[in-house]
Symmetry: C2
Subunit: 115 residues, 2 copies
DNA sequence: TTAATATGCAACCCGGAGGTTGCTTAAAAT
DNA sequence: ATTTTAAGCAACCTCCGGGTTGCATATTAA
């Protein structure tokens, strides 16, 4: 593979770790699971049914927002959070890359054994 | 969907956050990228070319090992680490679930607008 | 106008994550 | 037999993540 492709992938990978990290928490996975239904939720709505404080939930939402998984829209006195799919599509690409590498490895092994 | 399915998915999600968290670090993403080629690497080999200490790399490997992404095989004086694909397949399922939810949301929106 | 609701901001606590250094032990190489 | 090389263990440091409480502010409801 060319040098350009390599560095391009490396620079993309640079941006993926924070997305994985943002998903590395049960609370935030739950929030994403709710928000990916497409319906916007206010902070208070997302707090109801959770054992955590509103501020804790807010912090988690800010983490998700900082990597672009959600964004907030202020509406009157409440701010509604909405899901944004792009970052998660991004890390899917990484996982697909890893899978592809692994499949190639298995193929090489198989070819070696069968020869 | 049935209650059983819901709880089964919830229990799976329980196990996914640590996997995401394990991938939420540049150094560990690099390690995974190397190891998914199928070739086993010793700790020293993985340390060469990194700016970190051997012990730092070791800690990262233990994190990956703790969620089953890699496992180590002792061979003489060195311990070789090998990639293990299952956990990453697991989080793919979660990402697919989120995508499916989101696609449904878009479909509903489209149907609503067009009616 | 007053009370209730939704949010923001700041300080603070605590534990763990990421990293280092130093020392020890085990294998391999010379 | 001695010296490299590979790795494990433990102590230590610093900083950030997750969470809380307290107070201030802006909207909405009564």
């Amino acid at each position: 593979m060319s040098q350009r492709r390599r560095s391009r992938r490396a620079s993309k990978r640079q941006a993926r770790a924070p997305v994985f990290a943002a998903l590395g928490d049960e609370t935030r996975l739950s929030l994403v699971a709710k928000l990916c239904s497409g319906r916007p939720y206010s902070i208070s709505q997302l707090t109801r049914g959770s054992k955590l404080t509103r501020q804790a939930i807010t912090k988690h939402l800010r983490v998700l927002e900082s990597v672009g998984i959600v964004h907030s829209v202020r509406s009157g006195r409440e701010s509604r959070f909405e899901f944004d799919p792009q970052p998660m599509e991004g890390i899917k690409e990484y996982l697909d890359f890893v899978s592809a590498q692994w499949d190639q490895a298995l193929s090489r092994l198989k070819a070696f054994v069968e020869e």
